[in-house]
Every structure is written in C-alpha cells, then in structure tokens.
C-alpha cells in the first residue's frame, strides 16, 4: 500500500497519497534523473520505501529495485498491440512483497516513454475515512467526494502538464449557472475548474476520464491507467449516508467513473492494477489471491486479466538489498555488517521486503 510511500519521485510524476504533499520530494525531482534506474540490469539495485523518518529524506534519492515482475510487465507493454482493447494487468502477492513498488516502476517507465499516466495512488482512500460526502449535482443518487477529487486533480495536473494543453474537450460541459466549459477548450481548463470549484471536483474528474477514454484510440498518445488497491472499487465501504445506511461503491462518483475506465472497451493503452490487502476493508489478513480480494463482482469485471505474482526476495535480491543498505550506511550496528548478521536478517525477515525494511530501520 502506498501509505508508506511518500515522495517517491519519478520525473515528471509526483506521487502523493493524499495525506500531505511531501515537499522535500520536489527537490529530488531533478536528482532522480541523475540517479537513473538502469533497466534492465542484470544485478538488481536496492529498494526502499519512504517513511517520514527515513531513506528518501536521508539519502535524498529514491531508488527502486528492478525485479522480475516489473521486467515482465515491460515486455508485455512493449509488445502490446494498441489497436486491440486495453489489456488489464493485476499485480498480486502476499503482504509486503513489493507490489506497489512494481507499480511505481511501471509508472516511471511509461512516464519516461511519454505516456499519459492516470495514477491513483490508493483507491482505498476513496472508500473510507471521507469527511465530506455531498450529493452529486449531476446524478441525484450518487455521492461526491470533493476533497479526494481535488487532491487527485492537483496531482494529475502537475504530472501531466503538457498533455493537458494538447487534449481538447469534445463537448460542452455546464458546471453551474454561470460556469461552463466550451467545446474545444484544453482539458487544463476542466482541471482548473475542478480545482477552483471544489464542489464540482468529482464531476471534473469524471469529465477528464471520459475525454481521455474517448480520445486515446486516435493514437496520438498512450494512456496508462495505474490503480493501486483496485479491490477497493468492488469491495465495501465504511462510509455511511446521513440516514446511517451504508454506501456501496457504485454510489460514489469517483468510483463509478473509475470503474468505467477499468473496462476494456477502449484501446490505445494499458491498465495496470495492484491488489492490496493492507488497506482493504472487511477482508481477512491472509487473503492475497485475486478472487479472494476482488470478490465475485470485481473478478467478473476485471476478467480477463493478466495476473502477475510478486514473490518475496530471492537470494540475489536479498543480497542486493542488504548491500544497498550497507553501502548507504543505513545499517549502523557492527554485527549487521557481518555474515552472521546477514543470515540473521534473512531468517528473521523471511526474505520479505517489508519485514526487512522494518528490521533494518532501527539498526
């Protein structure tokens, strides 16, 4: 889950999970270019995530390990035929094995190649802990989430600036009594509108998605839809309406529009998603397979998809991660430098990336 990921930066994308903008990451923007991820290296480099207290700020860089699942995805994307409907890829695996990281890697890759990237850092944030729920002006039975929508629009704007100027609206949109967007205006105006008028932010998001979907088959740009925690779209929510009745996901505008995006009735791009148990609601912690986390509805909606499993570290990957920590002097304990210490870390973490990171933190 992206909660621990703040400020992982890939030019020009700024990934933000909606809590707070990690300003330090802006500084890293340029530095990442120089700290290039070498693709596809024979010897993978080390990985780490970025918590408040830790590596990105300390190292002033964000690094990714190149692993097999990501490489697999790159080959698929390279060989995909964009005349065919968009292929859906689902990255799944046990907790803490690196699914979100793989997704970020893919996003970075596509961004470098010049694709238009629609990245939703964590879909779970849209279905829980929402402070403001408004009734949608567009459709009476749906509910709007202005805060989440506006934060997403902000990110989208900063990450895909030049696309916003190129894509033109194909239809007139009326936002209210006095506001409307004419046909043929750049998409940037829609985004500005959403940001200025927070009340209509969710509708703005919907408009953006619709326009992109309609225009991507023309072939001028490729679209990558990257969603983390896609099982949130088909699960349950913890939100309640004013009369305390539970809200189902389709009643949320954002979710509804995103679901439309996930269908494979458009071409000219790809959809890469991740399953996540950590933020999911009402799912047991041992669940990690697609059909467990997506449920019947989600599975049917996403079917057919290409599953990509992300396992724990292999021997070499573990070694590489360990050496990275050592090299960057993250491991300060004397015994951590020894061979015995390495074995101990390997045993205790079970070669699970998240566990290793947690263990290495205090050392």
């Amino acid at each position: 889950m992206l909660r621990s990921l703040k400020g992982l930066v890939c030019h020009p994308l700024k990934l933000d999970h909606g809590y707070a903008l990690h300003t330090a990451a802006k500084d890293c923007l340029s530095s990442v270019l120089s700290q290039d991820v070498q693709i596809p290296a024979e010897r993978p480099r080390a990985v780490f995530y970025t918590n408040e207290t830790d590596p990105v700020k300390t190292f002033n860089e964000a690094c990714l390990m190149v692993r097999k699942p990501a490489l697999e995805l790159f080959t698929y994307l390279k060989n995909s035929n964009f005349a065919h409907p968009a292929v859906r890829y689902v990255i799944y695996g046990e907790r803490g094995t690196g699914k979100t990281m793989t997704l970020c890697h893919v996003v970075h890759y596509c961004a470098r190649q010049g694709w238009l990237v629609l990245h939703i850092p964590d879909a779970h944030l849209w279905v829980k802990n929402c402070k403001e729920l408004m009734q949608s002006s567009y459709k009476k039975e749906r509910l709007d989430q202005p805060l989440q929508a506006s934060s997403w629009l902000k990110n989208f704007k900063t990450s895909n600036e030049h696309f916003l100027k190129e894509i033109k609206t194909q239809q007139k949109y009326v936002w209210g009594k006095r506001e409307s967007t004419e046909q043929g205006r750049p998409l940037g105006e829609v985004v500005e509108q959403g940001l200025a008028r927070v009340r209509s932010a969710s509708d703005a998001v919907g408009v953006v998605l619709k326009e992109i979907k309609q225009q991507c088959h023309l072939g001028s740009f490729r679209v990558l839809v990257a969603v983390d925690g896609v099982n949130a779209l088909w699960g349950r929510t913890t939100l309640k309406k004013e009369d305390k009745s539970p809200v189902s996901p389709e009643e949320l505008t954002l979710v509804y529009n995103l679901r439309k995006m996930m269908m494979n009735n458009w071409n000219g791009g790809a959809i890469v998603t991740t399953l996540s148990q950590t933020g999911s609601l009402f799912k047991p912690s041992s669940a990690y397979l697609p059909h467990e986390l997506l449920g019947k509805e989600g599975f049917d909606a996403l079917d057919p998809f290409v599953p990509v499993l992300v396992p724990n570290y292999s021997q070499r990957e573990f070694e590489s991660c360990y050496h990275y920590y050592l090299h960057r002097k993250w491991l300060q304990h004397e015994q951590a430098r020894t061979e015995a210490g390495k074995e101990e870390l390997r045993f205790l973490s079970g070669s699970n990336p998240q566990q290793l990171e947690r263990l290495a933190g205090p050392l």
């Binding site: 015995a340 101990e344 390997r346 045993f347 205790l348 079970g350 566990q355």
Partner: protein, 456 residues
C-alpha cells in the same frame, strides 16, 4: 431417620417432627464390638490416618460408654460419664452431641472440648495396641477381601497383585483429594498397622532381654552385635598377619550405596534414637567397613545399607536418520507451559521453516517469536543451513515459540559435536522451562494479588 415426607400440596418439603433425634441412636457396646471385629470390605478400606486409629475392643474401659438414648441416665450419671470421657482424653474428643430423645430426659450437649482432651496420651496408650490375634484376623480378612475384589473386577483371584488392587480401588472409589495418602487404599495389614513392640516382660514381670533396663534395649544390643563383629574382624586380621598372608585388598564399593537414615533405623529397631546414638552407630559401621578383612561381615553390613537408585542417566543422542531423498534429518520434541511441539530438522536446507503447514512468517507475525526460533541456529552458526517442519499445539504464541525452540535444539544435537551440545546445555537451550501458571488461592484475587485493602 424418618424418611422425608413427600411434598405436600402447599409445597413445603421434608417435614420433620421436631422431637426426632438428631443423631441416630448409639448402638450397644456389644453391637459395636461385633461390628468392629467383623469388618466388611468397606471397613478394610481405611484412610491413612484412620488406619492408626480404629479403636479396639480390648480397651481398658477408657472409652466412656454412652448408652442408647432411651436409657434415661440421670443428669448426674451423664455428668459423670462426661467427666470420665474428658479425663481419658482419647481421640474421640471432638464435639459430641449427646442427644436424648423423649421429653423427660435432659439434653446435654457438649459444644466443645479442650485441647487436653485431644492430646494423645502416649504413655497411657502403652506398647501394645494391636494384639497378635487382631493382626492375624486383619490379614485373613484382607486376603478374603482381595479375593472378593478380584471377583468383582472379573480377574483371577490367584494372580491378583497389589498393583491390581490399587487400580481396582481407584476405579471403584474415585477420589478427587489431592493428597495421595488421604485417598482410599487397601493394603496388607502389615503395611497399614505399624509394627508394635511386643510386651517385653513375662508373666512374672521379669523382662526378657538382658538390656531392658538400659531403656534402649534394641539399640544397645545392636551396638553390642556390631562391636562383636568388629572384634571378629580384628581377630581375623591378626590371624592373617600372623600367618604372613597379605591382607585382602578387595574393598566393597561404597559409591552406589548409602547407610540407613535415622528414621529407617528407628523403624527397624522400633524405638526412638537420638542423633548422637545414630551417629555413633554409623561411625562404628564405617570402621567395620573400612578395616581390612571387613569383607567377612559383608552380609551383616548389607542389612544397614541401601542402594542409591537415582543415578544420573546419560542422555542418549540419537544418530541422524536419512529420508528417501538421502537428506539427513532428525526429530526433537519440546514443551513449554501447555504447548507441545515436534520438529523435524532437515540438513542441506535454505532456512525455510513451516509450522503446522503454514509458513513461519504467517504463523508468527511477531518478531519476538521468530527470534526465539532463530536462537538455537544462531548459537551453532547454522542459520541458513537447515530446513524445519514443525507441528505444535496448545498454549499461546509465546509458549509455542518456546516449545519449538526447545524441540529444535534437541533435534540439532544429532548434527553437532558433544562439546557444542555441552555449550547448548549451558546456554539453557536444552532445559525444559519449568515455569507454569501459578494456582489462584482462595482469599486472594489471583496467585499473588490480594484484594484491595480497605481501611474500614
């Protein structure tokens, strides 16, 4: 007792007339004697304490006779009876309820007795409490009862051993009492009734033994005999020296044996000893044993020595076994609190551990438990070299982790040199942790925690 009447329509239960006697009327003396003399099977099954105490018919009138309630002794006679009872003491001193039925008699009820009444009047009890005839009768009855019991249990009376008796009694009279000695038991009368010294003097009052007037006749006679043996040995030694034969070198090995303890010696002699007496006797025995040619009196000495059976057992380390693929493995079992674990440790592994079919990261999400599992391997520097398959049940997560740790340490003994096994033992990896949950006591909230103290 009048049987409780059936519930009336008004619903009150058990109407008892107020004048009914509170205890059943005491049987007559003869009836009592008869009953005591012919105990049925249940009477033989006595508890430990009662075994010493069945009051005997051959009393010298110490037990006050309480006549049946209908006998109407006058108040004075009753009082006299009570006084007699109190003076004589005896073990019957507990609160007696003397109830007399009938309107005319006075109801004398003794609520309490003094401790003086309870104290054992040892001097008065005399040397002989159980007559020989009594003991013989008990033995006959025991044998008869044994056969009855065997019949009841459907076993062969001829081959019914004491263990079978114990099992049968535990089955027929299940008891939840904690102290084993308080439970019903049926043993040979010689084990239940302690040995008594027979009367030491004859009809004319003259004692049989020549050392009677020393007060500790058996002790002094024992010392006398032992010293005689010692003199014997010394004489033999002198003879050997005179004949210029070398003295015998074989010494009896005293390592695996011990002398009788003071209590055992007292039981043997049937009389009390002081510590000083006991130490003198042991010194004499030592002298006898350590002197050359002491082997002559070996038989005599054997009577006073016992084997020490509990020697340290050498723990056998099992050799490695090999499974179908040719991989060496070994098993181990461990426990901690209420958890039990069995573990198979395979050689040539990568450090993969499976617990109850689940990967160790999922079964023990807490780091502390995994550290416990790591400990034996890390101690032997074999962290990534073995695979492990464990089954564990019972207890909580911490105790399961401890149980697996012990089991894996035991299994690793087969892979490792003896010196390292000794290191492991000293590190505490091979010791069963004896700590279990302490019992909650009444009057307290927990095992140690008391209830909140309130000043008033």
């Amino acid at each position: 007792m009048r049987p409780p009447s059936a519930c009336s329509a008004r619903g009150c239960a058990h109407q008892r007339p107020s004048a009914a006697p509170l205890t059943p009327p005491r049987p007559s003396r003869s009836a009592l004697a008869q009953r005591r003399a012919a105990p049925s099977l249940p009477a033989l099954i006595a508890t430990h304490r009662a075994g010493a105490a069945p009051a005997l018919p051959a009393n010298r009138g110490r037990r006050a006779f309480l006549g049946p309630c209908g006998a109407e002794p006058g108040a004075a006679v009753m009082a006299a009876a009570m006084r007699r009872l109190l003076r004589a003491g005896g073990r019957r001193g507990a609160a007696l309820v003397v109830a007399a039925g009938g309107a005319r008699s006075q109801t004398l009820r003794l609520i309490y007795t003094t401790t003086a009444a309870w104290k054992k009047n040892v001097a008065a009890s005399g040397p002989e409490k159980y007559t020989e005839a009594f003991i013989k009768k008990q033995i006959e009855e025991f044998n008869l009862g044994k056969r009855h019991l065997a019949n009841m249990m459907g076993e062969d009376p001829e081959t019914f051993t004491q263990e079978d008796i114990d099992r049968a009694i535990a089955y027929l009279f299940p008891s939840g009492l904690f102290d084993k000695r308080a439970r019903p038991m049926m043993k040979h009368p010689t084990e239940i009734f302690p040995e008594q010294r027979k009367i030491q003097w004859g009809e004319d009052g003259r004692p049989f033994h020549f050392l009677f007037y020393t007060g500790k006749q058996s002790y002094y006679s024992l010392m006398h005999d032992t010293y005689e043996k010692l003199l014997n040995v010394q004489k033999h030694q002198d003879q050997m020296a005179a004949q210029d034969l070398p003295p015998q070198k074989e010494k009896k090995n005293l390592v695996g044996s011990r002398w009788l303890t003071k209590t055992e010696l007292e039981e043997m002699l049937l009389e009390k000893l002081s510590d000083d007496d006991y130490s003198r006797f042991i010194q004499l025995l030592q002298k006898l044993v350590t002197s050359p040619c002491g082997n002559i009196e070996e038989n005599y000495i054997k009577k006073f020595s016992r084997e020490i059976s509990a020697q340290l057992q050498k723990v056998v380390i099992e050799p490695l076994k090999h499974d179908d693929r040719g991989v060496a493995f070994s098993t181990g079992e461990g426990e901690r609190k209420t958890s039990r674990a069995t573990v198979i440790v395979y050689d040539n592994g990568t450090g993969k551990i499976t617990v109850n079919g689940i990967d160790v990261l999922h079964y023990f999400p807490v780091l502390q438990d995994r550290e416990q599992l790591l400990f034996p391997f890390q101690f032997l520097d074999r962290v990534g070299k073995h695979d492990m398959v464990c089954t564990v049940s019972g207890g909580g997560r911490s105790s399961q982790a401890g149980a697996i740790r012990l089991a894996s340490a035991k299994a690793l003994r087969s892979f490792v040199t003896e010196k390292e096994v000794e290191f492991m033992r000293q590190a505490g990896l091979l010791t069963v942790d004896p700590r279990v949950k302490e019992r909650k006591k009444p009057g307290q909230e927990g095992a140690r925690r008391k209830f909140t103290w309130k000043k008033r």
